[in-house]
Assembly symmetry: C2
């Protein structure tokens, strides 16, 4: 089954399943069920079974899922059974926090090229990596064959940075700038904006 | 119409509309259409009209939306026409970046109580606010009547921190720890985990 046939909302739940399964595995659990997983995640067991059925058979009715096996399969499906290099553009407080975050490497990602346009930052190192001039981003990302990038620049700069990334061959962008990006077909953007999440909750509070 | 009658997915799009409208307003635009807004956001104009129709009539067919009026209405609907105090638990790199982030205050949020359990951090200040001992979080949050919190602690600590927050009366939690939280009914959790977003994109790359 090709990626275009799987609903995007299903793809979006797979990393959540993978995270919960990895947690269970860390806790020493070997077998789980769609019911147990669903209770942990607040998702119905039927939904989990249906989502996984897009990709094959991962457990037998009544015996549950072997956690390590399902982790391995999900990692293969999501293509995180390998390491991905990621470019980071923007070394403000957030970019700095992202560069130091240990959670990426454990889960398949590795920030290996860092850019900023502030002359006082260019040439210094961050978490062992040199900070390069954003003006070099297109060329260097292309040279390194990097396909994923995080954008942590101010809103005003995000669209032009994105255009440079796309030109360099980046097809997956994690955008922290509080602005919607315009990208050509085939380029995926995911957004992280804490205010959007907070505003969604104040509606209910 | 009460909040329980509006699909959560619709509520989730309102902050995105608000953000795009605020951007247009900043650019000096006065009037927009569901078509223009939809093109900016990659959402169909019919979807936007349908979402907004849950809350009333915000524009006339053919004349478009008055941006400042629609912003005001969305702010009222989302209850961000007032300021919200937010507690932050966890002052690692990420917590520090969150405390320094200017984008909260402009959009209705104000990190005003900060906690950590590291004795070397307790009593120091961050962005002008004193860092208090996490052990005091329940009591202090209750005293201040704070309903929103951000959790930026390691995965291992997130569930127990959450329980203390819920006990203190917090009903909206923005969780940065890479773990699913278990909360009683009536408490809303939103998750930010960059790896989940990256893994969702590697599926397609």
């Amino acid at each position: 089954m090709t990626s275009t046939e799987i609903p995007d909302i299903v793809v979006g739940r797979l990393p959540i399943y993978l995270r919960a399964l990895s947690r269970l595995s860390l806790e020493g659990v070997k077998i789980t069920s769609s019911k147990e997983l669903g209770e942990r995640l607040g998702i119905s067991s039927a939904q989990i079974r249906k989502d996984l059925s897009h990709f094959g058979e991962f457990g037998k009715q009544g015996t549950g899922y072997k956690i390590d096996f399902l982790i391995e399969q999900l990692r293969r499906i999501l293509k995180v059974d390998r390491d991905w290099e990621v470019a980071l553009v923007g070394v403000g407080d957030l970019g700095r926090a992202l560069a130091h975050y240990n959670g990426f490497r454990d889960r398949g990602f590795h920030i290996s090229l860092i850019f900023d346009n502030d002359p006082s930052k260019i040439g210094t190192t961050l978490n062992g990596f040199q900070i390069y001039d954003s003006a070099q981003a297109s060329e260097m990302i292309q040279q390194h064959g990097i396909r994923l990038a995080m954008v942590a620049v101010p809103a005003e700069a995000a669209q032009s940075v994105t255009e440079a990334l796309v030109k360099a061959g980046v097809t997956g962008i994690l955008n922290y700038a509080p602005i919607n990006l315009s990208v050509p077909e085939g380029v995926h953007v995911q957004y992280i904006d804490p205010v959007v999440h907070l505003q969604r909750m104040t509606f209910y509070v």
